[in-house]
Symmetry: D2
Subunit: 262 residues, 4 copies
Amino acid sequence: MKTKISVIVWNEFQHERQSSAIAEIYPDGMHQVIAQALRVGDADLDVGTATLDQPEHGLSEERLAGCDVLVWWGHKAHDQVDDAIVDRVQKRVLEGMGLIVLHSGHFSKIFRRMMGTNCSLKWREADEKERVWVVEPSHPIAAGLGEYFELPYEEMYGERFDIPQPDSTVFISWFEGGEVFRSGCTWERGHGRIFYFRPGHEAYPTYYDANVQKVLNNAVRWAAPRVNIVDVCPNAQPLEPIAKKALNFAKVGILQSAKDIQ
Amino acid sequence: MKTKISVIVWNEFQHERQSSAIAEIYPDGMHQVIAQALRVGDADLDVGTATLDQPEHGLSEERLAGCDVLVWWGHKAHDQVDDAIVDRVQKRVLEGMGLIVLHSGHFSKIFRRMMGTNCSLKWREADEKERVWVVEPSHPIAAGLGEYFELPYEEMYGERFDIPQPDSTVFISWFEGGEVFRSGCTWERGHGRIFYFRPGHEAYPTYYDANVQKVLNNAVRWAAPRVNIVDVCPNAQPLEPIAKKALNFAKVGILQSAKDIQ
Amino acid sequence: MKTKISVIVWNEFQHERQSSAIAEIYPDGMHQVIAQALRVGDADLDVGTATLDQPEHGLSEERLAGCDVLVWWGHKAHDQVDDAIVDRVQKRVLEGMGLIVLHSGHFSKIFRRMMGTNCSLKWREADEKERVWVVEPSHPIAAGLGEYFELPYEEMYGERFDIPQPDSTVFISWFEGGEVFRSGCTWERGHGRIFYFRPGHEAYPTYYDANVQKVLNNAVRWAAPRVNIVDVCPNAQPLEPIAKKALNFAKVGILQSAKDIQ
Amino acid sequence: MKTKISVIVWNEFQHERQSSAIAEIYPDGMHQVIAQALRVGDADLDVGTATLDQPEHGLSEERLAGCDVLVWWGHKAHDQVDDAIVDRVQKRVLEGMGLIVLHSGHFSKIFRRMMGTNCSLKWREADEKERVWVVEPSHPIAAGLGEYFELPYEEMYGERFDIPQPDSTVFISWFEGGEVFRSGCTWERGHGRIFYFRPGHEAYPTYYDANVQKVLNNAVRWAAPRVNIVDVCPNAQPLEPIAKKALNFAKVGILQSAKDIQ
């Protein structure tokens, strides 16, 4: 592994260019604010960005090969993501690359691919207060947080969230309007680590929040690859002697029973 | 739910028609032997079959809608399975249908879809003895088995098996040639239950084995749907009053910091 | 297994005899209301009760031997439960008996014994509204419930709840005062199934609630034994020939290295 | 946390003083060989030892308070370990201290306490070959190992191993005599990490093996505390206003139904 953890922050980058209200919050796109949050402090990260409208969505074979952790924000353009790029990202996660999926990325092709489920949920946009409770304070992703943190305005996501049982449920959110949500969940798939983090609606300045930035910083470091193993399905030589056997299926009554079935 | 559990045994049905050695063991196809094993005894199952070469691979919308548990055997023709049918099966599993994946089905499109991983492993064809150990004797799939059962000749599958952590590892196999394998694994995905069962190489009469037939019978009943829930992602009305808020991002210094980043 | 599932509802039965306010809600004790809720409807349960002040707390060897599912309510008298009885209950759970732990039973000796953790949490008595969200609608314990149910007055329990990762988190609660809690959790230990269910403060009529009674009915049936296996740690005969080996530790440099360490 | 990880290697230290054959392999006790293996290489560990016959078994309040990871080997003297010391160790694990349990330590008081189960298994002493397969190559405990490693002579441990479902099953062993075993398992309990590692029979020089030493080195670093949190069960102030309610149980028909039950 390299000295620095190489991070790509991917954003579909549509809302920010289509809505003046959202552009006011994220004038250069959410990916720039997230990337900046990761560049602050320790210099152990090497942070770049990529967007939907770039060639290969900014995720060429070469670039992904050198990527340690991919952060993903998408919402209205999930369908415009090329299936071949989704295959490529999945392959890299299974080899060991980390994947951080943010907010509306729950419905991205790559998250649904990794989970195998619909990843659906309840939702509501109502300038609602969210309180994110830390359920696993010893998890590295929760390092430096208090017992909870609050976001004054967020979109609501409510259970049931259609995901496989997480390895760890780091955060559970309380919403002003009455719902709850597993807001920080981890999984391992292949040799890679995956973290889903709920907050981050485009209409609110969530990614400027200090606690959210701390979570993102923790998550990127947690998800950094431990190995890089290319998939194989090898024909293996025996390690112990295998007795030569006269295959006699009739002897054990098997062909007899086959005939009976006919 | 209906009174009987409706089961479809799906087989690609290629080896049996292309190899005389295999045809001798399974003259009408493996699916017929498996189906027959499920028809014996209690009359709580309604068992049919489907094969690759049928229209829609025998898995029309209508037929799948009425299916409670799908048993899947495939090997050399995984790529010939239509992606639209894979989508359809996945949708049904997530709604609650059970899925039993057998042996070389580890590389089927539907299993890889549900797992999100490569599902690769080590393998060897050497007329090898397999001893299947029961690790979770209280699991319904292990009901009626002893501490282990043996198969005199089987293909070897060895770890590492690239799957997500199972909910339950019911069986672990010992192989004569020196490997081990998690041979019976369960997962829940959406509202459906999935069971992977390792034994069942086409060149051996494994599906005539009494213990294997017991496992299949147990598994089909375990995987029967508990619910049938069609996926939605609803916009939810609040259950509690949500305070009207004057969104003032600048007040909390957020737009300030946005400008700083520029 | 017998035709009927044999259930014992255990209660420390202290609050109801020491507080007139609580006696007004549960004049014969909470155990009687819970038992009655389990006796209604299907006649597949055989329901009895036991209390702290009975000889052996009503849990003699013989009675426990015939018990399929034990329901446990305790709060102020946890310390008065005899360790020998806790040992006995643990042994039966590991053999296959189901255990349903209610509300303040989170701090009971038997629950802490089975979990291995402190089982601590946040709490508050404030006549607070609780909304219990169904996170796993396909779990048998959630059968027949809607997306959530509400309790108008309950004690608050908040995260972090110090438990091992549950096998299934069936319910998560939202509290009026701002907390969340994993209110319905399942585990398997040995051959037995365990369910923790949060609601049930003695000062409120929670066990008269129709949804709570449905959960209890579901849970008792879910936790019924699948097996009854007495623990052994056997010296096992080999199933395969083991080569005779001349143990020569020196040959592999081991005793050499032992001397180096000195 | 301190700069160095503080490790205590605990050994009952009985076999080595009672059997000349075992003393020949481990003249100063197994704990000295294990401690030495941890002292080699990186100087990030501060390694001490403790034994049963020391005052408080060498595990005073003060010493445990400064301990980051405790390694435990016991076999014939499990019962001689003072329950008060077991309480103390459990408390520290739940606060964040790591615990590595070796071989026959599966039956130690502390391991059974943390697991909540019997921790029983099959066993056989027959100078048997063990092949330890790496099932999770991306787990830090498997770092630097190949696909498997072999031990020429070991005691056999076979399934079923009566443990709660591990968070991660890092190793599964193949035994010459025909059994399999989950040989490397991890759990989190409270804020602490636990690793059980199977090899290490006192009659064989297992702890001199380079791969075994690598596993121990990896495990100690993996189990190092991430936090140190003392258990509390606080009465929490509300974070949101709680409506004043007139508790009227009769109104909702509850006391009515209480009378019906009588």
